[in-house]
Amino acid sequence: MKTVQEIEHDGIIQEIADKFISIGIVTKASCVSCEIGGSCSAGDVSGQTITIPNVYRNFSINEKVKIVLKESLGLRALFLGYVLPFLFVFFTMLIVNAITPNEAIVGLSSLAVLIPYYSVIYLLKAKLKKTFTYSLKKHYNF
């Protein structure tokens, strides 16, 4: 049994229905500066909500919770969201570059690969939804 590494993120419970709980994710700006100073509210998009099946009992609305995602899942999301498309772009670029010296074509075609890539992602929507599951944890004060 290997220890499971987990990613935690703060969230606030927004709604508790019979079958689902929706949690608003508290987004954080990527610069400390912005976060500490509160001066970059450009990043404060708090529209992200996550709904997860309600198998919990002891939570209440507006409660601050930790949303837990397995670290491996986080890394997989990262891979699908950023790394894989990067690889597509990069390798398309290598290939097209070998075919034509025209940089405009090379550049545009490598960007264009993203379109089929995202289409595939779109087709896999349902599957991805199943893959990424979260659980909730309370904030403990011990």
């Binding site: 049994m1 220890t3 499971v4 590494q5 987990e6 935690e8 002891n58 309370k138 403990y140 011990f142």
Partner: protein, 443 residues
Amino acid sequence: MLKTFKLGGVHPPENKFSAGKKIEQLPIPKTVTIPIGQHIGAPAQIIVKRGDEVKVGQVIAKAGGFVSANIHSSVSGKVKKLDETVDGSGYRRPSVVIDVEGDEWLDTIDKSDTFDKEIKLSAEEITKKVMENGIVGLGGATFPTHVKLSVPAGKNVSYLIINAVECEPYLTADHQLMLEKGDEIFLGTQLLMKALGVTEAIIGIENNKPDAISHLENLAKKYSGIKIQGLKVKYPQGGEKQLIKALINREVPSGGLPLDVGCVVQNVGTAFAVYEAVQKNKPLLERVVSVTGKSVKTPINLMVRIGTATSELVEAAGGLPEDSGKVVSGGPMMGKAMADLTTPIAKGSSGVLIFRNEEAGREKIHPCIRCANCVSVCPMGLEPYLLMTLTEKHDYDRVESERALDCIECGSCSYTCPSTRPLLDYIRLGKSTVSKIIRSRKQ
């Protein structure tokens, strides 16, 4: 070929001063204080009242559930009070105080010394006897023995392991018991084997007790299915997970039980108690206790009635030395320090250890220098320095994921730390907090 476990371990000076001292019977004291919480599991329910007359062996508290054990009166006399008395920890705990009058035993008990070799009972009956007579593990954990004997359906036991390691420095109770009661121990072992339905038993003994090894090896010829295995001297070989690893090279999985790898581990003292309970119908009312220490006048092994005050034992060993600084119930690595000497001997007390003033104190705590000594000695492969820091920082989620709950509290880490950090103190705190969190999570 001596065996041992692989991961970690330390070798503190053995200091077995009371080795070779014959077990003496301690005179019955004037009063005994029998604590009710003597075992792991549900506490027993007191069934006597103030003023009741009791006999030796009479049940005074009934097991409070399956994982619990009966408690018997270890003396005869009158119940003086049912009170909450201060125990060794300074907290008030329920206990029964009995004024001793004479030494009247229940008739059902066979008081004779004759060795009763014949196994008459069936497996179920053995387990029942063990349960009725309140036998608990005498290796320190005081886990009710009948529970270990009731193997859940679906689990398979292939080995009975008798823990005769006595890896704690100073202590010699088990050692002496083996020398004096070898046959009884073997028979107890056979009873346990029968109860469990296994054909193989291994008695593991560290090789700092060569006399016990050869004595038992001689006797073993008479008993089939029981093997004696010498072990290299390394603490905490007596820990059951380590012992199983050493003897049959199986690793109990994290959070698992010996049962998960087809083993049951019992202490030699327990085996002896099982013999007495089954063959003589004698409840667990006395046990062997070593009284020892560097300046103790006559280090000694005593057969003591449960409930006797520690001070009586100390007197028998020549009185409390002038320079005593700390008194420990149990071994130096795992025992519990006592706040005073009124503390009664309970089923789990294997020794009374008296430290001189200069050995008693802990050194000043220095910052961790990350020397990794603690990591390399931890028999469970944990990182004690990290667990302590995380506990200090209240990061209990990580304390949990770093598997603090695997810690067997052997104390090797604190023992070896050059910065004399109280690692185990904090790890215990971490463990208890984590278990609290887990419990509240389950709700």
